[in-house]
């Protein structure tokens, strides 16, 4: 118990005060707590249990110890899925972060217009499924407008989703298109926390915009960028919708990302225990990634404070 809390307890000696508002508080948190236990805590426990069983969804689950984890480590497709996901995350995060920084700087230095911000944000509010279908159409190998454009400038038509080398970058860039405005807005919010006096001082010293960006904006933005990176990497790692709608993991596993592979194993092949083991591995992996990222980027100590 913290010191102020202890003092409060000493000061207030009546029994009603000692328990504070315990009874009404319990009544107010009860429904949410029920939801939390039933749909977050219980499935976490149960998911781990399923990962130790042979379970086809149809019959009862049979305990098999760590067999699923052994199978997972020997499964070439599991490692392929992780690799493909890493490729996706890399392309997605790098393009998204660089573009978002560019857009954020432009917005920060040029305009606060709500219309500009609204347009930049718009794709983020449209469903993944919608975005995937529109781009699937625009990138159609025969009559898609992008290929029409490529053709006009003398580049060969490309089957963006059907080509093993092109499919993953295509899916990744498509999601960059959807998320970049949102990421840019988060970064703009961070930029607004930088005191304007820093820019005034830099301007007085005759610093160019380019120099201000590298010497003022970027260093002071580090905590915000760290948070943005953790959030986008974790979100990006769990890509599913776009793959499910466009490529279904193909061609030849080129886009079979980990969440799609888990979905496929659980609901198409009924290897529910195996799928649970993989999803537990993803859970551990994501917590690890978030921890390492936060340590590396020292998100908590800001240069401003």
């Amino acid at each position: 118990m913290t010191a102020p809390a202890a003092l409060r307890h000493l000061r207030r000696s009546s029994s009603r005060r000692r328990h504070g508002d315990l009874l009404p508080a319990l009544a107010f948190v009860l429904p949410a707590t029920f939801g939390f236990v039933a749909f977050y805590i219980w499935p976490t426990v149960r998911g781990f249990y399923f990962s130790l069983t042979d379970y086809s969804l149809l019959g009862p689950a049979r305990f098999v110890g760590v067999d699923n984890y052994k199978q997972m480590i020997d499964d070439r497709l599991f490692w392929n899925a992780l690799l493909v996901t890493a490729e996706y995350v890399l392309i997605n995060i790098v393009t998204q972060t660089v573009l978002a920084l560019l857009i954020a700087v432009l917005m920060h230095r040029l305009t606060r217009s709500i219309v500009v911000r609204g347009i930049i944000m718009l794709p983020y509010f449209v469903a993944n499924v919608v975005v995937a279908i529109v781009w699937y159409w625009m990138l159609d190998p025969q009559i898609g407008v992008i290929n029409e454009l490529l053709n006009a400038v003398g580049v060969d038509r490309l089957s963006f989703f059907g080509d093993t080398a092109a499919a993953m970058p295509t899916v990744a860039l498509l999601n960059t298109w959807r998320h970049v405005g949102y990421t840019a807005l988060l970064i703009v919010a961070g930029m607004q926390m930088i005191p304007r006096t820093f820019y005034e001082a830099a301007a007085l010293d005759g610093a160019s915009e380019w120099r201000m960006f590298w010497r003022v904006t970027l260093p002071l933005l580090r905590p915000v960028m760290a948070l943005v990176l953790v959030l986008t990497v974790i979100g990006s790692f769990q890509v599913f919708d776009t793959v499910a709608v466009t490529t279904s993991g193909g061609p030849v596993n080129a886009t079979r990302v980990i969440v799609y592979y888990i979905y496929d194993q659980a609901f198409n092949r009924f290897h529910f225990g195996f799928a649970s083991a993989m999803s537990f591995a993803v859970f551990v992996l994501l917590v690890g990634i978030a921890y390492v990222q936060l340590r590396l980027t020292r998100a908590h100590d800001s240069d401003l404070s």
């Binding site: 107010f28 939390f36 499910a244």
Partner: protein, 319 residues
Amino acid sequence: MATLQGFDQHSSESVKASAAAMDGAARRRGVNWGRVAGWVALAVIMALTLFPFYWMLRTSFSTTRSLASGSGDLLPVDFTVGAYRRVLGLASPQEALAQGGTPASLNFWRYLMNSVIVATIITASQLLFSAMAAYAFARLRWPGRNKIFFLFLSALMVPPIFTTLPNFVLVKNLGLLNTYLGIVLPSLLMTPFSIFFLRQFFLGINREIEEAARIDGAGHARIFSKIIVPMSSAPLTTLAVITYINSWNDYLWPLLVGKDESVRVLTVALGIFRSQTPQGGSDWAALMAATLIAALPIMILFAIVGRRIINSIEFSGIK
């Protein structure tokens, strides 16, 4: 309200800051080519952002049969509203076939209604129960309050796919597959984000009004419903819209538990429509019309309350 004012302040400050920087630059060089280049870059980015939406519109008013020959045309090819008639079940099979569409009925109204039902139930229920919990976490004093709150928050770290598998088993065992209840159940009572978001705002409400009401003998239910909720109408609206949009856009969960026609939501229906490629290529005009109609309610919501959502994203950092 406090946050909105805070942001106006910020914005006027940054406007002043960039204005000051601009003056300095302008004095040195006359025309500031850097700013011109910046605006050109921003215009290109906005055009790239908007083009797919235009292409959706352009294709949806085209005749599917003619799309192949006019694939590069910027305007609709053989302008028609036939795609919308097909999607909304108004076209006869002959008419649909003549335009290169599928004669099968799409049941689009059904999916639209299902999406509305699911998103509305989730939003109303989740908001009420999350607001109640946020009230207890922000305004009431009780032992273990912060520990439980941070436990709730830690659930943000659990990847959805991990809880999705056992939740599917639960819904299946309860016999709720292909029911509205099954689709809405996991999001019905709370999400860690909703509670976190509302708690932040509830913490900022002035205690004096609450204390006065308490002296007048108002109970917690009354303080919650007559003081806290009305005073938080702005953040509540924002959260309602965000929740509605997220439920509307959700794909994996309704795909797992609600594939049946009777409860199929729009995202699931669009995915199935996309994968059912009829002979001779997809009915792209109808697919784009359907996609546009599916996205339209969200775009209208965004046009109405977008400013508020954008401000709150800048405020809370995460969604």
